[in-house]
Every structure is written in structure tokens, then in C-alpha cells.
């Protein structure tokens, strides 16, 4: 009988462990980050917090609170409550707000907070779905793509302007706009590219592509360049959505393409390996391509003279515009799913599964600092 009782408890305990080990999904996503306009601070959304890190030395900004005699890290929220989870790239407004939605299953709130105090300024009420991606700020308005498939337009003081139904599925990619801010462009998991009028939320045009689109569109001159899960790279006219060219690449496209004025750069996922492409933006022809041992999910960072991308094997690769390697760095056991970011003259990366949350490299590939949350 003792054996039976022991067996029963072991069985239930094992069941609980195995089932809970698979956990609540939305917490398990890669981090998002953004830098302020002058490149002095990086805001990293990773798990329970949004961190505020100084680009000059990788130290965390601190804030004085009534509860503590010494300054505490200026994280949002100041104390993790377990109910919030942040993984989207934060959006920054010209008046100093940080905007981000919680991707947790229990908290579905979109927050505006002051990075100097971490106090909440306003929120977008719960929409019963996690916020999976970052918002777009154009002048005095914020456009937040919801987990319920709606695009929410709010003023920078938190007044709702309109809500537009974009997809039956959760929106996973941040919206982008053209240079003049005439239209907002979104992509959906149900194969669509949608252009929306920022004034009223009405679609200007909708184009259906062959498969799901996971990366945001790249604005390339008067075109939008969008990659799909089938490996097709489409160039669409910004004003009408008409197709200018399509190029079929090897593997799946997960990220947002980069653009340097003449070429479009994008990596692909070829099962566990990857391939990186430079594609002529005027006709879609491949200019050069490079095989990689690790898959490339994130879009590249394009600077004046180099293109920098990360791989799933933890490698950060810099190449020049002809595809010749300039430098590379590898973070052991890490996965690079988040696009690298340029802040000032530093390349910032946010690896998953590393011993630190952020690392900064100069433009020659020398590591300058790492950020570990204490």
C-alpha cells in the first residue's frame, strides 16, 4: 500500500512537473529593444522588466524612490509582479514617454510610462490578448498593433482616436510608415500587407501574399519590401500595393529586411542553417549571398559601410556592402533572434540564453561592455 501511495504521488508530481515545464507560452519570446534618438540609452524589454541601460558604459539608470534609501534600478515596473511580460521593442515618443504592451497571458495592458520615474502615465485597457509587438509613433499619435488583430490609435496623452480591425490573428510585426507619414504599413500572419490611413484607420489598400509574414516591411525608397515564410521577397509600391518584383530565396524569411539605398539585405532560415542575401532593390536580382551555419531570423543592421546580422548559433557577423566579412563575434550558447541596434557608435545586441542580457560592440567588433541584470 505504501508503494501504491508513493506511486500515486510520484505520478501526480511528475505530471505536474512535465506539464508546467511546458509553461505559459507568451513569456517565452525573444527580447525587444530600442534606443533613444541621441543614442545614449537603450530600453530592453526582456521578461518581467523593461530595463534602461546607458550606452556609454552599460550601467543601469537608477531612480530615487520613497521606499528605498538608495537609488534603485529604473526598471519598469520597479517591482516585478509576475503578471507582466515584456518582449516587444519599446516605442519612444518625442516628449519622453516609453510605450510598451505586456505580452503575458494574465496582463494585457499597453503602458505609457516615464523612464525618469517609471511611473505609469496612461494605459490602453485590456483587450484580452497579449501585446506581441512594438508600436509606431508618428508625430502626436501612437499606433499599437494588438494581440486581438486590431490596430489601436491613441494620442500621446492616452485618448483613443480609432480602432481598426486588421486581422483575425494576433499582430506580431510592428507597423512602419513612409518618410512623410502618409500611410501605416502592417503585415499579418494571414498573408496580408495592409496600408492604413493614420487619420482614420481605414485601409488604403490590402495585398495578399503567398504565406505568413513575420517581419515588418522595409521602406525602400517608394517601395515596401516584405519577406514571407516561403522565402519569397516581395517589393510593393507604397502608394498602391502593386507588385514591382518578387525574388525567391532559399529558406524562410522571418525578419525585417535592411536597405541601404541600392540593395535590400535579408537573412533566411534553412532548417537549422541560414543564408544571407543582398538583393538589388531595383529588380530583385540577387547581388550576392552567403551561407551560414546558423539560421538568421532577425533582420540586419545596416550602417554606412557595413551590414551586421546575428545567427541562431550566437554569432554576430559584420560584412561590407560586397559581402566580404569585416568582423565577427560569437556569444557562447546564445541565440541571436533580436535585430542588432545602433546606438551612438555602438552596436547593441540582445542575445537569448546568454549569461548577460545585452552586449555592446564598437564598429570594429571590439566588445565594450555587457549588461547583467542584478
Amino acid at each position: 500500500m505504501k508503494f501504491k501511495r508513493f506511486f500515486l504521488f510520484t505520478l501526480l508530481a511528475l505530471l505536474a512537473v512535465f506539464l508546467t515545464a511546458c509553461g505559459s507560452a507568451p513569456a517565452s519570446s525573444w527580447p525587444g529593444m530600442a534606443a533613444d534618438a541621441d543614442g545614449t540609452h537603450v530600453y530592453l524589454a526582456s521578461g518581467s522588466y523593461v530595463y534602461n541601460v546607458q550606452v556609454k558604459d552599460g550601467s543601469e539608470v537608477t531612480v530615487n524612490t520613497p521606499d528605498s534609501a538608495t537609488p534603485v534600478p529604473a526598471r519598469f515596473p520597479l517591482k516585478a509582479d509576475g503578471g507582466k511580460s515584456f518582449n516587444a521593442a519599446p516605442a519612444l515618443t518625442s516628449d519622453g514617454q516609453i510605450l510598451i504592451g505586456s505580452g503575458a497571458t494574465s496582463d494585457h495592458t499597453f503602458y505609457s510610462y516615464d523612464p525618469l520615474t517609471t511611473n505609469v502615465k496612461w494605459t490602453i485597457p485590456t483587450n484580452n490578448s497579449p501585446w506581441m509587438t512594438g508600436a509606431l509613433v508618428i508625430k502626436d499619435a501612437v499606433y499599437a498593433p494588438g494581440g486581438d488583430g486590431n490596430l489601436y490609435a491613441y494620442s500621446l496623452t492616452g485618448q483613443q482616436r480609432w480602432v481598426s480591425s486588421i486581422s483575425k490573428h494576433s499582430l506580431w510585426s510592428a507597423p512602419v510608415t513612409d518618410a512623410a507619414g502618409k500611410l501605416i504599413y502592417l503585415v499579418t500572419l494571414d498573408h496580408q500587407v495592409v496600408a492604413v490611413n493614420p487619420a482614420n484607420g481605414k485601409p488604403a489598400w490590402t495585398v495578399t501574399l503567398d504565406t505568413s509574414i513575420l517581419g515588418s516591411p522595409a521602406v525602400a525608397g517608394d517601395m515596401l519590401v516584405v519577406g514571407t515564410l516561403s522565402g519569397k521577397l516581395y517589393a510593393l509600391d507604397q502608394a498602391t500595393g502593386s507588385q514591382k518584383w518578387v525574388s525567391t530565396l532559399d529558406g524562410e524569411i522571418w525578419g525585417t529586411p535592411g536597405y541601404d539605398g541600392s540593395n535590400v539585405y535579408i537573412g533566411t532560415v534553412v532548417n537549422k542553417a541560414g543564408k544571407f542575401y543582398a538583393v538589388n532593390a531595383s529588380n530583385g536580382q540577387t547581388v550576392w549571398s552567403k551561407d551560414d551555419d546558423g539560421s538568421i531570423t532577425a533582420g540586419p543592421l545596416v550602417t554606412n559601410d557595413q551590414i551586421i546580422y546575428g545567427t541562431e548559433l550566437g554569432k554576430i557577423q559584420s560584412v561590407d556592402k560586397t559581402g566580404t566579412p569585416k568582423w565577427q563575434a560569437t556569444i557562447e550558447n546564445a541565440h541571436m533572434y533580436t535585430p542588432p541596434l545602433l546606438a551612438g557608435n555602438m552596436v547593441i545586441v540582445a542575445p537569448m540564453n546568454a549569461t548577460f542580457l545585452l552586449a555592446a560592440y564598437d564598429l570594429n567588433g571590439a566588445q565594450k561592455w555587457t549588461f547583467v541584470a542584478k
Binding site: 505504501k2 505520478l11 505530471l15 517565452s28 519570446s29 490573428h169 494571414d190 503567398d210 505568413s212 513575420l214
Partner: protein, 275 residues
């Protein structure tokens, strides 16, 4: 170890689930159909488990068993020896009722994981999903191609199968977890209906059965409350099919449903207890 489990159990289950989804076009119905299929495939194991349990119950209700309990009350070693002798004589193994459960456990866990992975509610999960879809799946039906499968239509009735389910009622300050409540209720009903009466309401087996009747509904209610509602759909279907299977075998103990103590002893057990 995790990889072997994935390759042998989770990935085949996930692909089977996606194939059903490709045919029916509704992920909720796919979960229901696949649950029924898995329960049918594991039915022979369940039958074996019931038979072994019944044999054990009969043995424990027998006079011979009761006598050796009484006789060796103070000598545990001797009691164990006597019990083993009777097991041997009757050709019963106490492990026979555990083994089918042990075999079913990886199937249950694998099925749970396959549901969670197939829904793919984050980019990271979708990356894993895309990599584990068998390339040959689209040869069976074009609806099983990557472009047709992704995104999974996770809306079923009023719920998003990738998220925990709650129903907001106007005027109420909180949402009601309808599905989790149904999971708790069906688990309770299933446990009550399918627990076989014990030889003695005071023996450890009866106490364990009573604990099961309390723990399992609470445990599964908690899972359904916090995890993707696709899992709750699986729990409810599994519970209902389980009751139907026991009913088909004539093993449903309806008298237990509204009794809140240990399962009512069978007449034979009563006489055994008297000694």
C-alpha cells in the same frame, strides 16, 4: 532525453494533429478528434489496467486476504511474505495495474506538449513548429503545406485556443473561467464514476482513491485556468471519452457520484471486513 521524447512521441503526435487539422480546418475539432483517437488506441491498456485492478480488489476482499491481515497485524515482514505468496498463488502482480498507467503517461504528456507546440502562440514557438512539421505532410494533402497550415486558426467557439479562457459577464467585476470549471467538474465526475469500490472503506486504497477524487480535479482545474484553452478542450474530451469507455465496459460506478466519502464497499467486502 528531451530530443528522444520529441522525436518519438511529441513530433509524431504534433504532425498527426496538424494533419487532422489540415482535413477538418478547425483546431478545436482537431484536438477533440485526436483525443478520441489517442483514447481508442490506448483502450487495450486501459482494459488491462481495469482487469488487474478488479483482480486486486477481489483478492483484497477475499477471506484469505483478510485473515492474513489480521493474523500478521504486528509483523510487517511476515505480512509482506504472505501477501507475496498469495500473489504468486493467484497469478496476480501488484504492478500489473500500474504498468498500463506508466505506459499511458508519456502518451499523455506527449499529447499535451504537441497541442501546446502546434498552437505556436509566440514567434519562438512558431520557429520550433515550422521546424518539426514533416516535409512529407503536404504530399498527403495540400492543406497540410506550410503556407496553408500557418497561421493555425486558433479560434474555437468563443475561445482562443492559444490563451487561457475566461468569459466576461456584464456587471461582474471578474471574468469566469468557464472551461476550467468544466474541466474540474468532468474530472471530478470521471474520478467518482470510475473508482472501483474498495474492499474496506478504511483501507489505504480507499483513502488514496478519495485523495485522487480531490486532487485530480483541482490539479487539472489549475492547469486549465492558467494554460492555453486548447489544453482544457483536451482535458474535457479525455474525461468524457474516459467515462464512455468505462461505461462501455460496464465499470461505471454511478452510485458513487453523489457520495462524498470513500467508495461504497461491495457486499463481499463487507463480509471480509467483519472478520
Amino acid at each position: 532525453m528531451g530530443n528522444i521524447f520529441d522525436v518519438l512521441i511529441v513530433n509524431p503526435f504534433m504532425n498527426a494533429l496538424l494533419l487532422i487539422y489540415a482535413f477538418v480546418g478547425n483546431f478545436g475539432i482537431s484536438i477533440i478528434l485526436f483525443t478520441i483517437l489517442v483514447r481508442l488506441v490506448t483502450h487495450p491498456l486501459m482494459v488491462k489496467q481495469i482487469k488487474s485492478s478488479t483482480a486486486m480488489q477481489q483478492l483484497m476482499a477475499s477471506e484469505e486476504w483478510q485473515k492474513i491481515q489480521e493474523k500478521n497485524k504486528g509483523d510487517k515482514e511476515k505480512l509482506a511474505q504472505e501477501q507475496m505468496r498469495i500473489y504468486s498463488e493467484k497469478g496476480i502482480s501488484p504492478f500489473d495495474s500500474c504498468l498500463p498507467t506508466l505506459i499511458q503517461m508519456p502518451i499523455l504528456i506527449g499529447f499535451y506538449q504537441s497541442i501546446i507546440r502546434a498552437i505556436g502562440v509566440t514567434p519562438l514557438q512558431l520557429l520550433g513548429l515550422v521546424r518539426t512539421i514533416y516535409p512529407g505532410l503536404e504530399n498527403i494533402t495540400p492543406a497540410a503545406s506550410l503556407s496553408a497550415l500557418i497561421p493555425i486558426q486558433s479560434q474555437f467557439l468563443w475561445m482562443n485556443l492559444g490563451l487561457p479562457e475566461h468569459v466576461s459577464v456584464p456587471g461582474l467585476p471578474f471574468a469566469i473561467p468557464v472551461l476550467a470549471i468544466i474541466v474540474g467538474l468532468t474530472t471530478y465526475v470521471q474520478t467518482k464514476l470510475t473508482i472501483q469500490p474498495s474492499a474496506s472503506p478504511n483501507d489505504q486504497s480507499a483513502q488514496m482513491n478519495q485523495m485522487m477524487g480531490l486532487y485530480m480535479p483541482v490539479l487539472l482545474f489549475y492547469f486549465a485556468l492558467n494554460f492555453a484553452s486548447g489544453l482544457a478542450v483536451y482535458f474535457i474530451t479525455s474525461n468524457l471519452v474516459g467515462i464512455a469507455q468505462y461505461a462501455a465496459l460496464g465499470k461505471v460506478n454511478w452510485s458513487n457520484l453523489f457520495k462524498f466519502g470513500p467508495a461504497k464497499p461491495q457486499p463481499k467486502a463487507k463480509s471480509g471486513k467483519r472478520s
